[in-house]
Symmetry: C2
Subunit: 206 residues, 2 copies
Amino acid sequence: MVFNYPNGHPSHYNEASKQKMQEKDRSTNFANRGMRFEEAINQSNQYYRNHDIAVVHKKPIPLQIVKVDYPRRSAAVIREAYFKEASTTDYNGVYKGHYLDFEAKETKNKTSFPFKNFHEHQIAHMEQCIKQKGICFVLLWFSTLNRCFFLDSELLISYWRNQKNQKKSLPIAVIEKNAIEIYPKVAPRIPYLAAVDKHLQAKEKT
Amino acid sequence: MVFNYPNGHPSHYNEASKQKMQEKDRSTNFANRGMRFEEAINQSNQYYRNHDIAVVHKKPIPLQIVKVDYPRRSAAVIREAYFKEASTTDYNGVYKGHYLDFEAKETKNKTSFPFKNFHEHQIAHMEQCIKQKGICFVLLWFSTLNRCFFLDSELLISYWRNQKNQKKSLPIAVIEKNAIEIYPKVAPRIPYLAAVDKHLQAKEKT
C-alpha cells in the first residue's frame, strides 16, 4: 500500500509501502539511480553515521493519536491517528561540533524553486536556530534538471520574507549564483557535508 | 482516552488524553505542581524557545504506519499503526552554537537509578554524538525524592557499559558526586540550561 503524507513524500515507516514505493520509483529519476530525493538523503545520513562522519536523522512524522487498542498478548495498535504539521524542519543533527538543521525539497520546475515548498513554521524554526548559531540550510533538488543545491537558510529566508513584494519562487539564476551545487554520487548519494564544509569556510573568511 | 506508549509516558499528541492525563497527574507529584517530568521538560523547552534562549524540541513518537484511509473531502486517517523503538534520544536542539542531545528519565527508587531505563540504541546514539562533539546528557528525576539531576552521558555510558560486571543501577551517591543537581522552579520548570552552562565551564577548565 502506498500513501503520501501532507508534504507529499512517501512514508518510509511502512516497509510494505516502502518496497512498493521503490519499485514505483524505478520509473522516476534520481541521478539515474531510480531513487527519491528524500530516500537518497536518508541513505546519505546512514552513510555518514556508519562512518562516524556526522549524526543526522530524519525526524519521525508527527501524528495526532486519537484511538489505541490494547489486544491481549500483543502490541498496542493505533486505530485512529492523523498527520500533524511539523513544528520544525525534517532533519537535524551534529557534525564536528556544529548543529545542523535542514529541510530537503524537490521540484519539477526548471527555472525556479517555488516558495510554497516552505511553510511559515519552518522558516520561523530556521530563524530561531540561526539565532542560536546553528547551521541551517535547505537541500534543493530540481528533479527535471537532475541538479541539487545547498542553499544557506539566511538567503532563503530573506527572499521568502519578501515574496509579497516579489516573485513566488526563487529563480535558478539566484540559486546558481548563491548556492553550492552538490553532485550526487554512489556513497553518499548526496554528499551535502562537502557543501557544509565550503559554507563553513566561507563563513570563517567573512 | 488515556494511554501510555512503550516508555510509559503519556502521549502529548492527543489533546483529549493530555487533558485527562493532566487531571490524573494532579494526584501524582512533580515538585508539588502535579506535573509529569516529561511535561515539565516540554514546558521548559517552550520557555527557552519563546525567550530565544535555546531551540530544543522533543522528537515525535516513531510509528510504523500500516494502513491509511482517505475519506472523501477530509483528512487522511491512519487506521493501523504500531509504536516503534526510537533510534535516537528524545530531545535535541541547539544552544549558543552547541548541539544538545539528551534523554529524560524518572524513577520512584530512592537509592539508585536503574540502568534498564536506558537502551543500547540510546547509549550508542549518545556515543556517536559525543564523537561529533555534541553536548550529551541525561536528566534524571527521582520522583519520590523530588530531586532532579543533570548527568553527563559520558559517565552514564561508562557505568552502563560495565553493568555486566557491576550493579544494575547507578547509586545516588555516585550521582550526587558527579551530576549537577537541578532545582525545579516556576519558569522554566526544569532550568537544565543552567546545568549545561556549569558543565561547559567545567569542560573548558579541563
